[in-house]
């Protein structure tokens, strides 16, 4: 019966804050999905299984797997750490429940940390004690778990959740698919076949039968020599055969060397394949980026200049924008200036002057004269109006003021406080060019605005195009290597192709030569057989004959088993591939496994016209490899009994493959727990994108959880909250 994970719970494990019952995720047979945005706990979730299987954690800082004890402080939830007083303990752990047909198991791995000092992130602030792994078991009849005490039994229970030899096909993070199946490496497909077929047993038998053949031949030759009837011709034939065999052995060694050269070149070619196609694309993109950058800068400069000239349009007589909205000002100005003038002249005609003395003189200039004024002061009497002007009175003071007046000062006060004639005149003069333009300003602004929008749109479009090109280039850098310039990669790739061709030629030549040698050896053997003395015990002859034939038959059986499995893998890989691309518009085409001259398996995608398709996207490459991973599972002679645990397997697939992926894994694995962010949509109420909403409606999707983290909170307050959608 298959192992089915029933639940996983965490205790203060990274952001999974709280006790096991707070963070329990329940799963069923079929496809289970945990959807989480980046940073919302997918890899941490996956880490729980790395802890379970290997007592390690993948450190997200340097992507290196480290022992639990060495990184324990990093694992404890910061919130839990913060809430632990100095001298107190905090427990951190994972708890997994899984069932097989007969039993249900509960496995708990945990450690206790004692806080020693203030700084919670400091490793020296905590003392770590790793607790014994706890394994409990129930037979589905007893309501309660009973503990398992035997350490070996505990280890076996953990191991059988997913057998170590199959974990690489059933327990992986997205990019690991690339290394699981690397068809450039001869060992990669061989490893898959080995897992599936016990081909190593056939290899042992091949080695044994060859050895027995050599031993049987030696025994036979010994018998021949011991016999008095032997002759020189026989000795010579045996020597010739030995020489031929030595030559054959040398040629086979050389063949091995060329096969290695071929494999290395093929490996380099495959390693560079993505980079080569990236390098070419990168070159092309670099040129496009350069051109687009130039154009963008030109338009940006034009736009900036344009914006700078906008201010001038307010005051430039050709545009006169400043006078927008002043349409009535001319009439207003005319009315006001008319009014002003009227008032001006009214004042001038003394209509409203209250104290004319302040403005006008009624006596001739400089009269009364100084002598008369002195006489009036001395006699304290005004002789003009014949009234007394006693000292200290206003009249007296006025006479004194008149006597002291400066002779050259104009005594007139202006008849208005301010005279705006000049101001209004200048205003009228300056405003003249503006008010002629008032009627066309709106149109002018509109045209300017249109021009600004056009330039802005053009600039935005160019920037977008530039960003897209840069993103494309960035994507190429992620999948390829930026350490080398494009030309080096192209040259290395071409070099690898040349070496493959050279090695192929040599391998072909050597195989031809080996074939001839083998044929000559067979002829020589016949000659030896005929020349052997007739009185050699039949057992020696039969031993040699059977050994020779068995060595050949076993070798052929080994090759047959290998080829059959490769064919089976090819068949299943194509079936799964078709499922994966079901919702994609990829037309036709098949995956083809072909033996290279060195005997390794070449894995190609052949289009409907029979041509090999090169340089596919990273996502497509991974999809092909995933088809093979699933083929390995399907080709297993017994039913595959282990769940698939995959973190971000879709990261490079592209949305068109996603739907097919979930369907396909549902058909291959009895249970899948897939951690993805590809279905996450922060702005949606359900936190699912449209594809996610479509997928969760499918019957084979059994459980769906959404992980949420409040990114606005401080790290020490962060917790992972789950929403169960299905």
């Amino acid at each position: 019966m298959a192992s089915i994970i029933n639940s996983i719970s965490f205790k203060n494990f990274f952001n999974y804050y709280g006790d096991y019952y707070d963070t329990r995720y329940e799963f069923e047979e079929g496809v289970n999905i945990v959807v989480a945005d980046n940073g919302a706990g997918k890899s941490k979730f996956f880490n729980a299984f790395i802890w379970l299987f290997y007592d390690q954690i993948l450190d997200s800082d340097d992507k290196i797997k480290k022992n639990i004890k060495d990184v324990a402080v990093k694992i404890i939830s910061d919130k839990a750490k913060n809430e632990t007083s100095i001298g107190d303990n905090v427990d951190t752990g994972i708890q997994i429940e899984y069932s097989t047909g007969r039993f249900k198991y509960q496995i708990t791995k945990s450690f206790t940390a004692t806080r020693l000092s203030q700084k919670i992130t400091d490793f020296n602030s905590w003392q770590i004690t790793i607790n014994d792994v706890q394994v409990n078991r129930t037979d589905h009849i007893l309501p309660k778990y009973t503990p398992v005490y035997d350490a070996d039994e505990k280890a076996t229970i953990i191991k059988q959740l997913i057998l170590p030899t199959l974990r690489q096909y059933s327990f992986f993070q997205g990019e690991e698919v690339d290394s699981i199946i690397d068809f450039g490496k001869k060992s990669s497909i061989e490893e898959a076949v080995r897992t599936l077929t016990d081909i190593s047993k056939y290899e042992e038998l091949v080695a044994l039968t060859k050895e027995f053949k050599d031993k049987a031949e030696k025994d036979l030759n010994k018998q021949t020599k011991a016999n008095s009837d032997h002759n020189d011709r026989l000795d010579k034939a045996i020597q010739v055969k030995q020489h031929l065999e030595q030559t054959l052995s040398n040629e086979e060694l050389r063949l091995g060397e060329y096969e290695k050269l071929y494999d290395d070149a093929e490996q380099e070619k495959n390693d560079l394949e993505q980079n080569f196609s990236n390098a070419e694309k990168r070159n092309e993109l670099d040129n496009k980026i350069k051109e687009k950058n130039k154009k963008t800068n030109e338009v940006a400069e034009e736009y900036t200049n344009f914006l700078e000239t906008i201010n001038n349009r307010f005051f430039d007589g050709s545009f006169s924008w400043i006078s927008l909205g002043f349409d009535n000002v001319v009439e207003d100005f005319q009315a006001k200036i008319q009014h002003y003038r009227e008032l001006h002249f009214e004042k001038k005609t003394l209509k409203n002057i209250n104290d004319p003395n302040k403005h006008f003189h009624f006596l001739p200039i400089d009269s009364p004269d100084t002598v008369s004024l002195k006489n009036m002061i001395d006699h304290e009497h005004c002789y003009i109006c014949n009234r007394p002007a006693l000292k200290g009175s206003d009249e007296y003071d006025y006479i004194v003021k008149l006597k002291n007046r400066p002779t050259d000062i104009k005594n007139d006060a202006d008849y208005v406080k301010n005279n705006f004639s000049n101001f209004f005149g200048e205003l009228q003069m300056n405003a003249q060019p503006f008010y002629n333009k008032i009627s066309s300003i709106e149109d002018s602004i509109l045209k300017t605005r249109e021009r600004e929008d056009a330039l802005n749109d053009r600039l935005t479009k160019l920037k977008k195009e530039l960003k897209s090109l840069k993103d494309q280039r960035k994507d190429l850098l992620i999948s390829g290597s930026d350490g080398e310039d494009s030309m080096t990669i192209i040259n290395r790739y071409k070099g690898a192709i040349r070496r493959i061709a050279d090695a192929s030629y040599q391998i072909e030549k050597l195989r031809e030569s080996i074939k001839k040698l083998k044929s000559t050896i067979v002829t020589t053997e016949k000659e030896i057989h005929d020349l052997r003395p007739s009185n050699i015990p039949a057992g020696y002859l039969l031993n040699y004959e059977i050994s020779t034939d068995l060595a050949l038959a076993t070798e052929r059986a080994k090759n047959r088993v290998f080829d059959n499995m490769v064919n089976l893998l090819e068949k299943y890989a194509n079936e799964h591939f078709q499922s994966l691309i079901k919702y994609n518009d990829l037309a036709g085409g098949i995956l083809k496994f072909e033996k290279s001259p060195s005997g390794s398996i070449l894995f190609n995608y052949i289009d409907s016209s029979g041509n090999i398709v090169h340089g596919s996207s990273e996502g497509f490459q991974r999809m092909k490899k995933f088809s093979v991973v699933m083929a390995v599972i399907s080709a297993n002679t017994t039913k595959y009994n282990y769940p698939l645990l995959a973190d971000a397997p879709l990261s490079a697939f592209g949305s068109a493959f996603t739907e097919g992926f979930f369907e396909a894994v549902g058909e291959v694995f009895p249970q899948s727990i897939i951690l993805v962010n590809d279905l996450y949509e922060n702005d949606d109420d359900m936190k699912l994108n449209e594809l996610g909403k479509k997928i969760i409606k499918k019957d084979f999707i059994k459980r769906v959880y959404i992980n949420q983290i409040d990114k606005n909170r401080e790290q020490i307050d962060r917790t992972t909250d789950k929403i169960k959608l299905k």
């Binding site: 042992e204 050895e211 027995f212 020696y540 039969l542 031993n543 068995l550 050949l552 059986a557 047959r560």
Partner: protein, 69 residues
Amino acid sequence: MDRNQVLREILSDEEFCQKYDIKDRENLTTNAPYYNKAVEVLSVIINENDNNLSDSQIYKKIKNIHNIG
């Protein structure tokens, strides 16, 4: 690994079976009694390799089959 399955796989070689007149291949097992020397030798190799006998020990057994030990 199923020893009988390996035996049958190796003996699915037409040329070999014809030469040593091996019949009823589907029902052959690595267990005695053997009715054919070639089958007997192969069975001994398969069984004793599985039993972790050394190469020399297995070869001695083969020689015994041929009465040349």
